[in-house]
Symmetry: C2
Subunit: 134 residues, 2 copies
């Protein structure tokens, strides 16, 4: 039941930007890739899902890059992971309703409780909780 690199790297991007929030400048993705020792090209592929959620302000060209739109404390870890990974539900039937064992399934209640537990935990953690000065 693993979080993939997509979710983990998304969190790293957001956390890197969070620590530079008060510098109020556009941070190049290449800067993040270098500092975090990750591939620029792979980070580029993770960015769109975050951009779609309106997480940052972007600028192209020289001195361009990314900047957080809101304060770090206003991003929950849940929304960042859901943006990059999709639903974190431990079983598909919680979100999709397509399971044909549904009528005989005795576990669905337990799975829903687990899902709630996970979502509740991650919804109460923010980017600020991950920052250096904490």
């Amino acid at each position: 039941m693993r979080i993939s690199t997509k979710g983990r790297y998304a969190l790293i991007i957001m956390e890197n930007l969070a620590n530079k929030y008060h510098e109020d400048r556009f941070v190049r993705l290449n800067e993040i890739a270098n500092e975090e020792e990750l591939s620029l090209k792979y980070l580029e592929k993770i960015i769109p899902s975050l951009k779609d959620k309106d997480f940052f302000i972007t600028s192209r060209g020289s001195d361009g890059g990314y900047k957080l739109k809101r304060e770090p404390k206003d991003y929950t870890i849940l929304e960042i992971l859901e943006a990059s990974e999709g639903s974190l539900a431990p079983v598909e039937c919680i979100t999709s309703n397509t399971c044909n064992r549904k009528s005989m399934c005795k576990s669905i209640g337990m799975w829903k409780e687990l899902d709630d537990t996970i979502n509740n935990f991650l919804d109460n953690k923010t980017l600020e909780d991950l920052m250096e000065d904490k």
Copy 2:
């Protein structure tokens, strides 16, 4: 962050046996496969990981099959899922310690808390909680 069919089917096998615990007989895997509408051959492949954990008493030949070794209330959902799926840890570094970003990682504490939350939830649920008469 999904539980695979391996873990889900393991739970179904255990729950099927739990509901027949008081019948005190060996239940054929084919009976379970038919009732739960799952492939016998695939269930056969899931069984060894449960057997290794000494979850049941087995018997071969006619009238052979599987029987729970302990009472349903004495199996936690956590141990069943860990037996079939391996560790449920949301990130590898919790169990393996091989991450080379370790010194700069700001998320590990949060991941550990999440892992504890999940484990705690599943360790307090037993097979009995999934049974029909509940």
